[in-house]
Symmetry: C2
Subunit: 193 residues, 2 copies
């Protein structure tokens, strides 16, 4: 049984990948792409530095398009990010037996709640695993022991989360992604310690 880890190259999804591998599962790292920008490249580099297979999931542009419309209407990203994450999980659930992501106990979005998890597992006959076991302090402690991590101002070329293609498409649609996603710093895993 293969486990797909939704992978951005950041510390949380890298934590999940290493944890499942060390628990004996056959892990494949997956990054969603919607054809707007090759945002999977940083994740691909991180995956290689950790010795994992990395797969780009080419998903339907319509998913990204609907996400951007939601976010532009709302003026803030929460519901859109939640929608795109849930939709990606539904897609991946048709292709794998086990799906994992790097959402922590104290993440607010994009998180599946317990009822969504049960529904997903029952409807799709999959197992879902996240980082709910751990708070942010434990994740920080463990990942700083495991990984070399770079902290950089987030931009199109150092990040592989949904935000990169969302920003690109919002700007193409005439919106201003900087109003919606302010500048921030992010982690990228560049290898084991």
């Amino acid at each position: 049984m293969k486990a797909a880890v939704l992978y951005s190259g950041g510390k949380d999804s890298s934590f999940m990948a290493v944890m499942l591998k060390r628990l004996g599962l056959d892990v494949e790292l997956c990054t969603a792409n919607f054809g707007v920008y090759d945002s999977y490249i940083p994740a691909s580099k991180s995956a290689e530095s950790l010795g994992f297979n990395h797969k780009v999931l080419d998903l339907d542009f319509e998913i990204l398009d609907k996400t951007c419309d939601m976010i532009m209407n709302d003026g803030f990203p929460n519901d859109g990010i939640k929608f795109i994450h849930e939709t990606v999980i539904e897609e991946v659930a048709d292709r794998y037996d086990i799906i994992a992501d790097g959402t922590r106990r104290d993440d607010r979005t994009p998180k599946l709640n317990i009822n969504q998890i049960r529904s997903l597992e029952d409807r799709k006959n999959v197992q879902y695993i996240n980082l709910d076991s751990f708070g942010h302090k434990s994740v920080k402690l463990i990942t700083s022991n495991l990984f070399e991590i770079s902290h950089e101002k987030s931009n199109k070329d150092n990040s592989s989360d949904y935000e990169v293609e969302i920003r690109t498409l919002i700007d193409e649609k005439g919106g201003n992604s900087l109003d919606i996603f302010p500048e921030h710093y992010q982690t990228r895993v560049i290898g084991y310690k």
Copy 2:
């Protein structure tokens, strides 16, 4: 920083111990005892078979006594088990930096909810880790790959969970523990695969 895993010798707490060790933490297995019966012996054997240090935490008899009174009044164990687990965690939080237990996402009791976890972590300046990342199917899959596991009818000599001393004391108090805890089967980890 040492991580204490509350340990019964079963598959869930063994899973937690191995997971944290493989993530690089310094793990010590701990079994609570209240002086009524040497119920820690099966856990001690399981810990040894997995190569972990095992510590018996000698806790106050009053905790067990109050637990048994709650359970005898209620006629069922849920609230008492929840009380004793929470009280043990509070005690352990004064002695370690990280506390972990084997409660899974779909366990009902004895589970700390998110508000209890936050309160514990803030008041005691500890990190708390459980098995909320995993549903019972994933726990079963992973532990059956990791461990040799025995399935036995639960009795005083093959179990180290709270139930053993609770049953002993309830019977001493003139109750009938078999009315409250019906016979059941349980897992005990006897080594790696």
